[in-house]
Structures are given as structure tokens and as C-alpha cells.
């Protein structure tokens, strides 16, 4: 897990690590360039896929437990013994074993391509997430920008699925998704701007490093000069992220009581599970962005101060994942509380409320940053 394939993929790494040393032993003349690329990609893909699968399965189990307990039920209790922890595994196996149905009249190419595209983009988003100082697949300079642009590619997959299914309900779901995501890109991007202005960088790694003060508690939301911008901007980001990930109350794309199952009405088996995995992976990514930009990323008292090494990296991953999962939990909590918004109200909320409010916050953050820059001594 602790390998760094991007470093390995670099043509001439300035300093060797375990991976490059090993490869040097196998290929004394240096690996062929294509093998470096392929191997790096394969390792990264395997790691992300494993992580996503585990996270998604856990999230699905958690969702059902949260739903159950909120609704004074128990949720899954049987499979695996303790509180049905293996329910997701059992469901996954069942989905894998089901017949692969492509409905008559479907656009076969789009129908088959859509789940792969959707899951692929979800996996690509993990590339930029800063799990730990030594564990980030790629420290993309434009990290935030990269994430929101990749996440909107999912929409294309959803539209393909909806159109390819040859089902009117699916088309409705796809069109709703297209309209919704297109309009929520704006508030999502704008609400990410206050922290970006604060950090002066789009890189999630830089953002996390800058929150390491105060024994690891100098998170953006706790900053005494910025919290009044940080908290509302986080709320706006969270609402926009709910819409971006098609979660209730913005689950119009698959709104069960209206569109049966929306864009994935006709999907079953493994292809359906791809959509399901994507939903939870996207939730995790959005929560991780929130955790990295507002809640200190991997920083936590005790973890930040540790000497660098594998143990610290491991604890950083734990802290970061726990923070993200807490936000995922809030998403679930919201889902099991609120009714669903109508499509025109989604648009109203996006364009008339979230966009102006986030613009105001961006403006406020910029002004604040400007005056703080004038008086550097005030900076904490």
C-alpha cells in the first residue's frame, strides 16, 4: 500500500525508494517506459479498487444500519454474525452471480459502457486524495479543480445509462441528473473557493499541510479569523456535494417514488453494483475533499507530531478516513431525514440560493484575505 507509483513512473527519480531499488534489481538498465507506466497504473488501480470496494461495502452496510436505527429498526443482523457485518459481501457475491441482462431495445454499447465509465471516474477521483504524507497517488497541483471536473464526468455515464436503457423512466433520470449536475457545478466550485483563497493553492496536499498547526487542530473551520466564512462555505459545499453525488434530498436521478429507479431501472447484477459502488465512492470522495479542506485532512493531535514513517502514514490514513466517514455518515443522516426536492426547486436552490450565497462568501474571503495581507502581523 505504501508504494508510490507516480514516483516510480518518473523517468529518473532523484532519490531511490524501495520500489525503485527493487525495479533496479530486475531491470538494471532501467525499465522500459511503457512497463513503468503500465505497472504504475496497475498498482495504483489495484490499490484504489481495493480501497474503494472496502469503503463502499462498509458504507453500504453503514447506510443500512443508520437507516435501520433511525427508523427504530435493526437493519441487517444476520449475515456474518455481529450486526450483519458481512451483508454487503453477501450482496456483492449475489450481484456478481446474477445474470447479466441487457434489455431488448437497449443501445448495447452505451448500456454496457455506462457503468464502467461511471465507476472509472469515481476511481480516478481517488488519485488526488491526500491520505497521508507518504500516500497520495498524485499530488495534483490543481487538486480541487481536478476533482470537481472529474466528478462531473460521472454525469456522462449516467446519461449514457439512461439513454441506452430504452426506458422512459431512465431517460427522465438521466436528464434530471444532467440538469442538476450542470447547475450544481457552479455553487460547488464557488463554495470551494474560500478555502482555496485561504490556502492560496488548489492542491489538497498544501491545504492539509497548512492545517498542521496548533498540535494538528488548526483546521480551517477552527481558525479564529476565518471560521465565520469557513462554516457557511462548508455548509454550501456540503449541500452542493449532496447534489453532485445524487444523494437525498437531491436524488432526483433515481428518485424511487417517482422514477421507479431512475437511470438504473434496467440494470441488474454486476452492472448495477458498479453504479452502487460509484455512489458510495463519490460520497467518500466529496466527504474527503470536505475533510481535507475544512477539517484538517490527516491532521489530528498526536498524529501530526509523530516522526515520519510507515506508522504515521498508517495513522494518517485512519484519521483521514474516519473524518471522511463521519461526513459520509452526515450524508446518510440527511438522507433519512429529508424529503426529496422537485426538479425546479433543485434549480431554484442552485441558482438563486447557493450560487449567490457562495459568491458572497468568495467575495468576503477575498476581502478578508486582502486586509489580512495588509496586516501580516495579525496573522495567527
Amino acid at each position: 500500500m505504501l508504494t508510490d507509483p507516480v514516483t516510480a513512473a518518473a523517468p529518473a527519480p532523484p532519490q531511490g525508494n524501495l520500489w525503485t531499488d527493487l525495479m533496479h534489481g530486475v531491470f538494471p538498465d532501467g525499465m522500459p517506459w511503457w512497463m513503468v507506466a503500465v505497472l504504475g497504473a496497475a498498482v495504483a488501480f489495484a490499490a484504489v479498487m481495493l480501497f474503494v470496494t472496502v469503503i463502499a461495502m462498509f458504507s453500504i452496510w453503514l447506510e443500512r444500519k443508520v437507516a435501520g436505527h433511525i427508523q427504530v429498526r435493526l437493519g441487517p443482523m444476520r449475515v456474518g454474525g455481529w450486526h450483519g457485518w458481512a451483508q454487503s459481501v453477501a450482496d456483492g457475491v449475489k450481484l456478481l452471480l446474477k445474470e447479466d441482462v441487457v434489455v431488448t431495445g437497449a443501445d448495447r454499447l452505451l448500456f454496457k459502457l455506462a457503468p464502467a465509465l461511471v465507476l472509472g471516474t469515481a476511481l480516478a477521483m481517488f488519485v488526488a486524495l491526500p491520505f497521508a504524507p507518504g500516500l497520495q497517488i498524485a499530488d495534483v497541483d490543481l487538486g480541487v479543480f481536478f476533482l470537481i471536473s472529474i466528478s462531473s464526468i460521472t454525469t456522462i455515464g449516467v446519461i449514457m445509462a439512461g439513454w441506452g436503457s430504452n426506458n422512459k423512466w431512465s431517460v427522465y433520470g438521466a436528464m434530471r441528473e444532467a440538469a442538476q449536475v450542470a447547475s450544481y457545478e457552479i455553487p460547488l466550485g464557488l463554495s470551494l473557493m474560500p478555502p482555496v483563497i485561504y490556502y492560496g493553492s488548489l492542491s489538497l496536499r498544501t491545504a492539509t499541510d497548512m492545517q498542521a498547526g496548533w498540535l494538528g487542530l488548526h483546521w480551517y473551520v477552527f481558525d479564529p479569523l476565518h471560521f465565520w466564512i469557513a462554516i457557511p462555505s462548508f455548509v454550501l459545499f456540503f449541500v452542493a456535494a449532496l447534489a453532485e453525488t445524487k444523494r437525498a434530498p437531491f436524488d432526483l436521478a433515481e428518485s424511487e417514488s417517482e422514477l421507479v429507479a431512475g437511470f438504473h431501472t434496467e440494470y441488474s447484477g454486476i452492472r448495477f453494483s458498479f453504479f452502487f459502488l460509484e455512489e458510495y465512492a463519490a460520497m467518500f470522495v466529496m466527504s474527503a475533499v470536505g475533510a481535507a479542506l475544512w477539517f484538517g485532512g490527516w491532521n489530528f493531535p498526536g498524529v501530526t507530531q509523530m516522526p515520519e514513517g510507515a506508522l504515521r502514514d498508517f495513522l494518517c490514513v485512519v484519521v483521514f478516513t474516519v473524518k471522511s466517514m463521519l461526513l459520509v455518515f452526515v450524508m446518510m443522516w440527511v438522507r433519512w431525514t429529508l424529503p426529496r426536492i422537485r426538479i425546479d426547486q433543485v434549480m431554484t436552490l442552485g441558482y438563486k440560493y447557493l450560487t449567490p450565497l457562495s459568491l458572497i462568501l468568495v467575495f468576503a474571503a477575498a476581502v478578508l484575505e486582502y486586509f489580512l495581507a495588509l496586516a501580516p502581523s495579525v496573522l495567527p
Partner: protein, 212 residues
């Protein structure tokens, strides 16, 4: 299509910050309620392991007090969907049960079969699980035994013996009165069918008990 149905709505008060505040407040209240229940005890039970008790008056699968039942067909007549079928042969006062079936594919558990019973022998029990592997199994026989029990046989034998003795005594008395010439006649009545008829009871008993 009715044109007057696109009714103009009353102008809504467009309160921008009011809407924001309402949304935040009502969401917070709602999430407070759901959060409270997140930690509350569940009201459901794990069904096959744990079962909620059914009440005294619960209308579940019937049970029959077979020794009381007189096969009078009152419950079958009261049934709105004719799902009760019964069949027994009479041996004097004793009944040889062949079947008492209830078709639970039809039964709607209305309890109307219970009220007309003159002997108060059909009841609705507390069992409710009607899971079977085949539809045919839903036609359930309420009888706990079929045919004649040993007790019944003994009782029939006794009744038969009594009857025979009575008949013999009568015959003897008749013979004495007429001065002989009469022959013993116990089996002349003709066999009754499965439905059983009390009029032919005595002769039936004699016929269906070959061992006697």
C-alpha cells in the same frame, strides 16, 4: 381537458432570507428527531428467532376438538367461501372421521365458522405461519386422527352388544308373544354411505364391524 384548472396561485411571499432560515431550521429540527431515534431501542424483533406473542383472541389457524365435533356441517355452511369440507361415517353415536379440511388458500380468517358451532368445538388458534412448499399443502386437515380409535371401537362394540342384546331380547319377547317362527334380523337395513345417516346407524354399525 378543463381549462379553468390552471388556477393562479396566490402570490407567495418571496422572503429570501426567510426561506433560507426556514430550510436550515426545519432541517435541523428534523435531524434532531432522527438523531434521537438513532440511539433509541428498536421496536422490531428478529422474527423467526423471536416472536411477538399473539393475543388470547388471535384468529390464526383453526384447531378442532375432534371428539366433540358431531360433523353437523354448520361451520361449513357459515363459511362465506366454502373452504371447509368434512366427511365422517356414523357408527351409532361414534363418528369415524375421514376428513375435516380447511382450504387456507381461500380462508380469510373471519371467524364466522366459530360462532354457529353447536358444540363449540372449532376454534381459531394462535398459529399464523402458513409457509408451505406446495400450494396443495395449504389444504390442511384439522383432524388429529382418522378412522376409529381403540376407545371408539370398544364403545362401538359395547353399543353393538347392547343393541344386539336388546334386539335379541325384543326378538325373544316377540317370539314369546307370537309363539316362535321369527328369525333374527339385525343386518337388513342396508349400508349407508360415507356421509353417515343416523337413521341407519344401528345397522351400519353391525355392517362395518366385521370382527364382531
Amino acid at each position: 381537458m378543463m381549462t379553468d384548472l390552471s388556477i393562479p396561485t396566490a402570490p407567495r411571499k418571496r422572503r429570501y432570507w426567510g426561506n433560507v432560515w426556514d430550510a436550515v431550521k426545519s432541517t435541523a429540527i428534523g435531524m434532531g428527531i432522527t438523531f434521537k431515534y438513532l440511539w433509541s431501542k428498536s421496536v422490531t424483533v428478529q422474527y423467526p428467532d423471536e416472536k411477538l406473542p399473539t393475543d388470547e383472541r388471535y384468529r390464526g389457524i383453526h384447531y378442532l376438538e375432534e371428539d366433540l365435533c358431531i360433523c353437523c356441517d354448520a361451520c361449513a355452511k357459515a363459511c362465506p367461501i366454502d373452504c371447509i369440507e368434512m366427511e365422517a361415517t356414523r357408527h351409532g353415536k361414534e363418528l369415524e372421521w375421514h376428513k375435516f379440511t380447511l382450504d387456507y388458500q381461500k380462508c380469510m380468517f373471519c371467524e364466522l365458522c366459530v360462532y354457529p358451532c353447536p358444540k363449540d368445538c372449532i376454534h381459531m388458534g394462535k398459529e399464523y405461519a402458513l409457509v408451505v412448499e406446495d400450494r396443495g399443502q395449504l389444504v390442511m386437515d384439522l383432524l388429529s386422527w382418522k378412522g376409529l380409535t381403540e376407545d371408539q371401537k370398544v364403545r362401538i362394540a359395547e353399543a353393538e352388544a347392547k343393541k344386539a342384546a336388546k334386539a335379541a331380547a325384543q326378538a325373544a319377547a316377540q317370539a314369546a308373544a307370537k309363539g316362535g317362527g321369527a328369525k333374527m334380523d339385525a343386518g337388513g337395513g342396508g349400508g349407508g354411505g360415507g356421509g353417515g345417516d343416523s337413521a341407519a346407524g344401528a345397522s351400519d354399525a353391525a355392517e362395518t364391524e366385521p370382527t364382531h
